[in-house]
């Protein structure tokens, strides 16, 4: 596997959320808004990349018998570090994510990558794998967060929890300006489906996204199958032509 393939596999082909259904706890619990999803994703990027690097660095020194507990201690260390950093520099995000920051320790994705990849591969490859998978996880969280926030409020906000780049909350996107082309003083937030900001909305949004991804996968598989059948038909046709030609030649020779 090339480094590029290693990096990109986590986005669609082996996406932790949409393909392996790993890390469902944060995927359902902290994706009420785009911003909390992005915040959780960034924390996982930090923890997964660094834990993969450290596990890969020390894989030859850690005895087989204590492999899993050692990995958990390494992951827990990074999670404690991100928790303290979040408390210090993004306290509103820390409040919004609450107990789900310490719960990163038990995210199956992180221990899974340490066990299945970092403990068997070189440091650079492990770093790329961790970074790529974590970005894929972030992409998954953001997809759910965007769908939920759009349906719940009709827009996407930034600046409520993350203290970077803006001084006060801004609307990254809203349907208001499109609808106000046709109707004045329209506020899409008055017509939001509040359920999507609540836990049942997380399940429904995830179900829609999984169904969409599965439908695309099925369509691609169907197209591939059809292409394969077409190729076999063409090969059969070509073989029949060759047979026909050989028979004609034989008949010509005989006459």
């Amino acid at each position: 596997m090339s480094k590029k393939e290693n990096f990109l596999k986590g986005f669609i082909k082996e996406n932790p959320i949409f393909v392996y259904l790993l890390g469902m706890c944060p995927a359902l619990a902290v994706t009420a808004t785009f911003e909390t999803s992005l915040g959780m994703g960034l924390l996982v990027v930090f923890v997964l990349t660094l834990s993969n690097v450290v596990v890969s660095l020390f894989k030859n020194f850690i005895p087989e018998q204590v492999r899993t507990p050692s990995y958990i201690v390494i992951i827990a260390t990074f999670v404690t570090v991100v928790r303290m950093m979040t408390d210090a520099y993004a306290p509103l995000l820390a409040d919004a994510l609450g107990v789900f920051i310490p719960l990163i320790v038990v995210n199956c994705l992180i221990l899974g990558r340490a066990e299945s990849f970092a403990s068997k591969n070189k440091v650079i490859d492990s770093a790329i794998d961790g970074f790529g998978m974590a970005l894929g996880f972030t992409f998954g969280l953001i997809s759910i967060g965007v769908v939920r926030e759009l349906l719940a409020t009709g827009g996407i906000m930034y600046g409520d929890y993350l203290p970077f780049f803006v001084d006060q909350p801004i609307k990254l996107f809203t349907f208001d300006w499109i609808i106000n082309l046709f109707a004045s003083d329209f506020q899409i937030s008055d017509y939001g489906l509040a359920m999507f900001a609540l836990p049942p909305g997380a399940f429904i949004a995830l179900a829609f996204i999984l169904a969409y991804m599965q439908a695309r996968k099925n369509k691609a598989a169907k197209l591939e199958e059809e292409a394969k059948k077409k190729k076999i038909e063409e090969l059969k046709k070509a073989a029949l032509e060759l047979k026909k030609k050989a028979a004609m030649k034989k008949a010509g020779d005989a006459s």
């Binding site: 619990a29 020194f61 850690i62 005895p63 018998q65 204590v66 507990p69 050692s70 201690v73 390494i74 827990a76 260390t77 404690t80 570090v81 303290m84 950093m85 408390d87 210090a88 520099y89 306290p91 409040d95 919004a96 994510l97 609450g98 107990v99 789900f100 609540l198 836990p199």
Partner: protein, 179 residues
């Protein structure tokens, strides 16, 4: 034997490096975290008495070691008159810590109650903050009745304990002030 010794050494090294890492980051961040907590808590003081954000207030803090509540904060307006008392209580439950601030008017009625910080499940905390805490407003410290519809969570139970402790303290120490 040597194998076991090797495992023990590796575990000790991993534990020590982890501990040192956490200790170093704690040294770097602890002051900022403490400052953030203080600022956040102070931002609630005006909210507890429904004061405008531009209103000038001063406060005095008294810490307790041997009381059920942690702190009593006396809030003064610009003229130096007491606006009310704020009681800070901390309770540990199965889901972690709950820090509650209760604003008590000088006449013994509860002005407002807020959850200052907590590690409890955010979804439940949000419901309690938005729906159930307002039940305490305007209740008399000597006769607090609890709404039956409370969400029935550990967080709410902790809030009730702290509210009762604050009311008991107020009645014991300042209950006769308005007479």
């Amino acid at each position: 034997m040597l194998d076991k010794l090797r495992i023990a050494i590796v575990l000790v090294v991993i534990g020590a490096v982890s501990g040192l890492t956490i200790y170093s980051v704690n040294l770097l961040t602890k002051d900022t975290i403490a400052q953030n907590r203080i600022e956040k808590e102070q931002s609630y003081y005006k909210e507890l008495f429904f004061l405008d954000s531009d209103e000038e207030v001063t406060f005095e803090v008294e810490d307790f070691d041997d009381e059920a509540i942690e702190q009593e904060i006396t809030l003064y307006n610009e003229a130096g008159d007491v606006i009310g008392y704020i009681y800070k209580g901390i309770e540990q439950n199965n889901y972690g810590e709950v820090v509650v601030l209760l604003g008590m008017n000088v006449d013994g009625t509860i002005s407002n109650v807020v959850i200052s910080s907590t590690t409890n499940t955010p979804t439940f905390v949000k419901v309690i903050r938005t729906v159930y805490l307002s039940n305490f407003q305007s209740q008399d410290a000597s006769d607090i009745t609890l709404d039956g519809n409370t969400g029935a969570t550990y967080t709410y139970t902790s809030v009730v304990h702290i509210v009762e402790d604050a009311a008991t303290y107020f009645l014991g120490h300042r209950g006769d002030q308005d007479e």
